[in-house]
C-alpha cells in the first residue's frame, strides 16, 4: 500500500501494534531512537524512576544539555538565580546517577537541545526523536518523526525507550515557487500558521513539500519544522535528499564508510509514495510571499510586513474577534497602523527557531557596515557553543559588535522568560523566536515574530523593516537571500 513519509517512519518503529480497530483501537507502542533531555522537564521524570526503583533503559540513546535556565553572560560564574542553579545541578546529579551523557554550560557542545542534536549528527532521517520540549518538531527537517512530550512521557521513555501513540493524520503543506530576495523560511512558516491557524494542524503530522522547500538549506528546513507545533501539529517533516546528506556527512555521529552507504540506501526510501494520499492538503505560493510578521499574541496572528494592523472587525468568528481585541490591547496597538510604523525597543536574534550559523550569517550580511538605531538594543544569541565558535571563526561576532549588538553565549535566552534575558513590562521586541504569547519573553513584554533578516533590518531602522527598506550600506554589503 502506498504510504506517506510519516507513515513509513511510524511503521518502522512499531514494537507492538495496539489491539482493536477503529475507535476502539489501542495505541501502538513505538520505539524511540533518540531521547533529548534538558534541565526543565526532566527532574520529576528522573525522580519518578528513582521512586519506582527503575533504571534508565538506554543511556546510549539519550543525551542531555543545559539550555533553558542558563545565563548568556558570565557563564564561568555560578548561576545567580538559586532555583535555576538548583535545577541545573539536579540535571548534573541525575545524569551522573543514571549514566546520561551531558553537555554542560561551558562545554563546546552545549547549547539549545534542538541545535545540539543535529550538529552532532545524532538526528538522522527515519528516526523517532523525542524531547520534553514542544519544539522537538525541529528534527523533522531530516525526515525524522520528532515530537515534543510531557514529563510523564519523558519518564516513560526513560524507563522503556518507547511511547504509546495513537496514529496521526497526515497533512501535505505544498510550497511551490521561488522565494523573493529578503523572504525566508521563517516567512513561509509564519504564513502557513496564519493560514491554517494555531489549531489547524491539531492531530496531524505535517509534511512540507514542493520546489520551495526542496530549495531550502537544512538550517532553513529546521526553522520551518520547528514551528509546526505553533500550528498545533504534533510533528512536521521534510523528506531527506542530497541537501540532508551533505549536511550530515562528516558529523561526529553520522555513519561512516559502509554504514553510511547502507544508511543512504535506507534514507532514499523515505519519500512519500507518488500514489499515497494525505488526509489534508494546504498550498502556499512562494512566488508572492512577502516578509511576514505577527501583530498579536499567538503565532497565527500574523500579516505581511507591508500590511496594517488588522481590526477585530476583520474577523467573522466571535472568538477570533474577541481574541484580536484582547491581543491589540495587550500589544498596545491601534488597528490600521502600518506594521512598518511600529517602533521596537529590542531585537532578539536567537532561539531554536533561528540561531543557527546561516541565521547569523544572513543577519550579519544586513548589519555589516551599517549603524544600529541607537535607541534599540540588540541581542545576538547563538544556538550552541559550537555555532558561536563557528561564527567567531568567520568574524561574525565582530560584525555584530561593530554594529552595536550584544554578542552572547549560547542558550534559549530571551525566547522564554526563564533566565536573566527578559523584556521589561511594555517593552516591544522584534524576535526571531517562535512564540508571541503574553508574557512569553518577560512579564508584560510585547513580541513581534520575524525572520533574522527582518530582525536585522529592524535594528537598523528602529521600526519593523524588511531588508528592502534599507539604503545601500556604505561598504556595499550585498544582501543575501539564500539563508535563514
Amino acid at each position: 500500500m502506498a504510504k506517506t513519509l510519516a507513515e513509513k517512519v511510524w511503521d518502522a518503529h512499531v514494537v507492538r501494534k495496539g489491539d482493536g480497530e477503529g475507535a476502539n483501537a489501542q495505541p501502538d507502542l513505538l520505539y524511540i531512537d533518540l531521547h533529548l533531555v534538558h534541565e526543565v522537564t526532566s527532574p520529576q521524570a528522573f525522580e519518578g524512576l528513582r521512586l519506582a526503583g527503575r533504571k534508565l533503559r538506554r543511556p546510549d540513546l539519550t543525551i542531555a544539555t543545559e539550555d533553558h535556565n542558563t545565563p548568556t553572560l558570565d557563564i564561568d560564574k555560578p548561576i545567580a538565580d538559586l532555583t535555576s542553579r538548583t535545577q541545573i545541578q539536579t540535571l548534573r546529579n541525575n545524569c551522573e546517577e543514571f549514566g546520561v551523557r551531558l553537555h554542560s554550560l561551558g562545554d563546546a557542545e552545549q547549547g539549545i537541545v534542538h541545535v545540539v542534536g543535529p550538529q552532532l549528527g545524532l538526528t538522522q532521517p527515519g528516526m523517532t526523536v523525542v524531547c520534553g520540549d514542544s519544539h522537538t518538531s525541529t528534527h523533522g527537517a531530516f525526515g525524522a518523526l520528532a515530537m515534543g512530550i510531557g514529563t510523564s512521557e519523558v519518564e516513560h521513555v526513560m524507563a522503556t525507550q518507547t511511547l504509546s501513540l495513537k496514529p496521526f493524520k497526515t497533512m501535505a503543506i505544498n510550497v511551490e515557487g521561488t522565494l523573493r530576495p529578503g523572504v525566508t523560511a521563517k516567512d513561509i512558516i509564519l504564513a502557513v500558521i496564519a493560514k491554517i491557524g494555531t489549531g489547524g494542524g491539531q492531530g496531524y503530522v505535517l509534511e512540507y513539500r514542493g520546489s520551495a522547500i526542496r530549495a531550502l538549506s537544512m538550517d532553513a528546513r529546521m526553522t520551518i519544522c520547528n514551528m509546526s507545533i505553533e500550528a498545533g501539529a504534533r510533528a512536521g517533516m521534510v523528506a531527506p535528499d542530497e541537501t540532508t546528506y551533505a549536511f550530515m556527512s562528516g558529523r561526529p555521529h553520522a555513519p561512516q564508510g559502509a554504514e553510511w552507504d547502507a544508511a543512504v540506501e535506507y534514507w532514499n526510501t523515505l519519500r512519500t509514495d507518488d500514489d499515497a494520499v494525505f488526509d489534508a492538503q494546504v498550498d502556499l505560493d512562494a512566488n508572492t510571499l512577502e516578509p511576514f510578521v505577527t501583530w498579536g499574541t499567538n503565532p497565527g496572528q500574523g500579516v505581511s510586513l507591508s500590511a496594517k494592523v488588522p481590526s477585530p472587525e476583520d474577523f467573522g468568528d466571535e472568538n477570533a474577534k474577541a481574541a484580536a481585541e484582547r491581543a491589540l490591547q495587550y500589544m498596545g496597538l491601534a488597528a490600521g497602523t502600518p506594521m512598518k510604523d511600529i517602533r521596537v525597543d529590542t531585537v532578539f536574534l536567537g532561539s531554536c527557531t533561528n540561531s543557527r550559523i546561516e541565521d547569523l550569517r544572513a543577519a550579519a550580511d544586513i548589519v555589516r557596515g551599517r549603524e544600529k538605531d541607537p535607541k534599540v538594543r540588540m541581542l545576538v544569541v547563538p544556538g550552541s557553543a559550537r555555532v558561536r565558535l563557528e561564527a567567531e571563526a568567520e568574524g561574525l561576532d565582530k560584525v555584530f559588535k561593530d554594529f552595536g549588538a550584544e554578542w552572547r553565549f549560547a542558550g534559549c535566552s530571551m525566547c522564554l522568560g526563564m533566565n536573566p534575558d527578559q523584556l521589561e513590562p511594555g517593552e516591544r521586541c522584534a524576535s526571531t523566536s517562535n512564540r508571541n504569547f503574553e508574557g512569553r519573553q518577560g512579564k508584560g513584554g510585547r513580541t513581534h515574530l520575524v525572520s533574522p533578516v527582518v530582525a536585522a533590518a529592524t535594528a537598523v531602522r528602529g521600526t519593523l523593516s524588511s531588508p528592502s527598506d534599507l539604503q545601500p550600506a556604505p561598504e556595499s554589503a550585498a544582501l543575501t537571500t539564500d539563508a535563514a
Binding site: 525522580e47 545524532l122 507545533i229
Partner: protein, 200 residues
Amino acid sequence: MEKFTTHTGIGVPLRQSNVDTDQIIPAVYLKRITRTGFEDALFSAWRKDPSFILNQEPFNAGSVLVAGPDFGTGSSREHAVWALKDYGFRAVLSSRFADIFRGNSGKQGLLAAQVAQDDIELIWKVLENAPGTEVTVDLASKTVTCGNVVAPFEIDDYTRWRLLEGLDDIGLTLQHEEDITAYEATRPSFKPLTLPARTS
C-alpha cells in the same frame, strides 16, 4: 494514578480561546524540581487582575474549567496540568485541545473533555447567569451536565479506559518488555548511539 469515574464541582467559565500553557503557568515557575505545589503558579499573570474569574467567588472554588477553543497550546510543559490539578481542577472542557496538553492531562488524571463549541456557549451562559452552578462530568457515559444543559463529550477510548481504571502507563508498557527487547535486536547498526560520545 487515581481512578476517575465521575466528578461534580463548581464550573468556571473562561471565555477565551488560545489559552496557551505560558498563560496557564509562566516559565518562571518551571525552575522547580518538584511535581507538586504549583497552585500559586496557575494563571499567575492573569490572577494579578482582580476581575479575573478565579479572583471571584464562588469561581475561586471551582473544579471544572470551561474554556474556549485551542486550550493548552504551545509549550509541552506538564507543569500546566500539575498547576490545574494542584489548584483543584479535575476536568477541563474545551472544543479543541492541543495534542500535547491533552496527552499530559491523560497521564495525570485531569480529564480533558472535548465538548462542541455550541454546548460550551450554553454552559458558559448557565455559569454566568447562576455563578456557583455545579458541572458534572461523567466519564462512563461521556456526558457533561450543567443546569439544564446535558452535552456529550469526546475522549479517546484508550485514555478513558486508563482513567477509569487508574492505570499506570509505564507498568502497562513493561508488560511488553520482551517485545521491546526483540525490536531492539532488529535495529539497523547505522543508527546512532550517544555513547561513547564523539565530538567535532
